[in-house]
Amino acid sequence: MAVILEVKDLVTKFYTLDGVVNAVNGVSFTLDEGETLAVVGESGSGKSVSMMSVMGLISSPPGKVEGGEALFYTSQGARDLLKLSPNEMNEVRGGQIGFVFQDPQTSLNPILKVGEQISESLMKHLGINARDARLRTLELLAEVGISDPELRYDAYPFQMSGGMRQRVMIAIAVACTPRIVIADEPTTALDVTIQAQIVNLFKQLRAKMGVATIWITHDLGLVAGLADRVLVMYGGKIMEAAPVDLLYDNPCHPYTIGLLGALPRLDIHEAKRLVSIDGAPPDATIPINHCPFAWRCTHAFEHCWNENPALTNVEEAHQVACFHVFEKGG
């Protein structure tokens, strides 16, 4: 499988009145064509910020992407997304990489018709006229499962339910047949029943379009049926990276184990207490050069406080950033 996106050592900081927030501290990963990569972590782990940095969607004061590369492999070779000019980036956004945001309520322009918000992307990237754009939009609306596309084209966001709005967001993201779709917690703001529908929709589209997907979530349970590979993030760094089966069968990082332990499981029949991880995420304004998870880790030892562990292979395709795993036998 060919690599389509390669991110190396991404660093993003926010310069706020309360200090410098180190949101992303050296994140590296790859995405293959057609692959679904899940990025898991709690609030503040840097999962959303990393992906938005790649897309150039970080508000520039106060945020700043300070280091790293984001190589996007197309037929024209590799382009570093972080170094593109605004115009070039505008071609990529929407046209080659689509984004689905978390809250469909606020992510759609309230005073524009829903259909227009899809058409404008088509007209920009495919260079077609308004009429053709409308026809294509109607098709898209049908594809994402919205009934009566003719009627819904002229609807305003407030006239739609949360699930329908999210479908519109997805339509916007996939409108120009992008090579990658990044979905930032697309189901978090929705009802559980709608969540399942949206996840299914994604799977359908993925099968149909063969698009590579990055799915950001804090819900490990969602990941199991959806992703090919998983990245676990904490404190602005990747703690563990593995294919989904390996992650569930052989979680290595104490944080991953903790997350999985906190998950209610239907397949384990003995009564087990849900294990929660004590403590809270670290204050990101204080720069550290040790493992960010050390404070909450039950296995932390001296080395963890002296050095920042790097992602290292523990088995094929499975990497962990943890001294305990390698030096104390996990």
Partner: protein, 308 residues
């Protein structure tokens, strides 16, 4: 070397008690960051200083008429003298001292007017917001009515009816401005009452009184102080306006509005009768507006959170 064991509960958030010195330092930092606010506060204190220490700053009595020296220009112009730095008015009264004493009228009106308006408004608005429902509609009906009306018009109307006196002016402003405070207070009380943490406090059994004092009032102070600053500035304006129309304090009392009314007659030849009172009003108002803007930023709930 022995491996250290760390309690998983410890993290890098140090528990510090914010001392008074910390708070002062924080305040100083905010002032330095936003120089506009600092300038505003300085300007305001200059005005207060002038009002309070007027008899010390100038030996001249603002009511002292000296018809021989009437309409003298300011010190830096021809025929002027530094004895009367801002010149004299048509009755020979020293403009500089009149300006200083005029500050007393303006600040008195502003301060007490706002005091009355804020107290009235706070009580009314808080009751409306806290009890909601029919009480709310009953109270806010007349309040919204007053807010919808052309304010200046009715103030002028009432002032014309009641006659000239300092007390009348204060009462008029205090009462007619209270709806603004009421609306803000009500809004804040509603917002706080419906916020999750008050709900949890109430469901945990906290009594109404407790809820009010611990939660609602602290959150009300910020917006009310900000509003009070702006409204005080507005009242100084309106007092001057009323004075200009001859509806404010009695004519012998030195107030900036009265001075402007008089100055109008001599505008062409003796402009300083108009310029200085207007500058005084502008200075005071600017200072208070700058300070008010700064206060609004400082007391923003967003910043309040990070202070704790």
């Amino acid at each position: 070397m022995a491996s250290k064991t760390f309690s998983p509960k410890a993290d890098n958030r140090l528990e510090v008690k914010t001392t008074f010195k910390d708070r002062l330092a924080f305040l100083a930092r905010l002032l330095w960051r936003d120089k506009g606010g600092t300038i505003g506060l300085i300007m305001f204190f200059i005005v207060v200083f002038a009002a309070v220490f007027a008899p010390v700053i100038t030996a001249r009595d603002p009511l002292d008429q000296d018809l021989i020296n009437s309409k003298m220009p300011p010190a830096w112009e021809e025929d002027g003298s530094w004895e009367q730095p801002f010149g004299t008015d048509s009755l020979g009264r020293d403009m500089f001292s009149r300006i200083l004493y005029g500050a007393r009228v303006s600040l008195t009106v502003g301060f007490f007017g706002v005091l009355i308006a804020a107290t009235l408004g706070l009580v009314i608005g808080a009751i409306a917001g806290y009890f909601g429902g029919r009480v709310d509609s009953l109270i806010m009906g007349p309040i919204n009515l007053i807010l919808a009306m052309p304010y200046l018009l009715f103030v002028v109307f009432i002032a014309a009816i009641l006659g000239r006196s300092l007390l009348n002016v204060i009462l008029i402003f205090g009462i007619t401005d209270s709806p603004i405070f009421a609306r803000v207070a009500r809004g804040e009380v509603l917002r706080i009452r419906e916020s999750a943490y008050v709900e949890s406090a109430i469901s945990a059994g906290a009594r109404s009184g407790r809820v009010i004092f611990d939660h609602i009032i602290p959150n009300l102070i910020g917006p009310l102080i900000t509003l009070a600053t702006f409204e005080m500035s507005a009242m100084i304006f309106y007092e001057a306006g009323l004075g200009f129309l001859g509806l404010s304090v009695p004519p012998d009392v030195p107030s900036w509005g009265n001075m402007l009314a008089e100055g109008r007659k001599y505008l062409v030849n003796d402009h300083w009768l108009t310029t200085f009172p207007g500058l005084a009003i502008m200075f005071t108002s600017m200072g208070m507006n700058l300070a008010g803007d700064w206060l609004r930023d400082v007391l923003d709930p967003r910043l309040r959170r990070s202070r704790k």
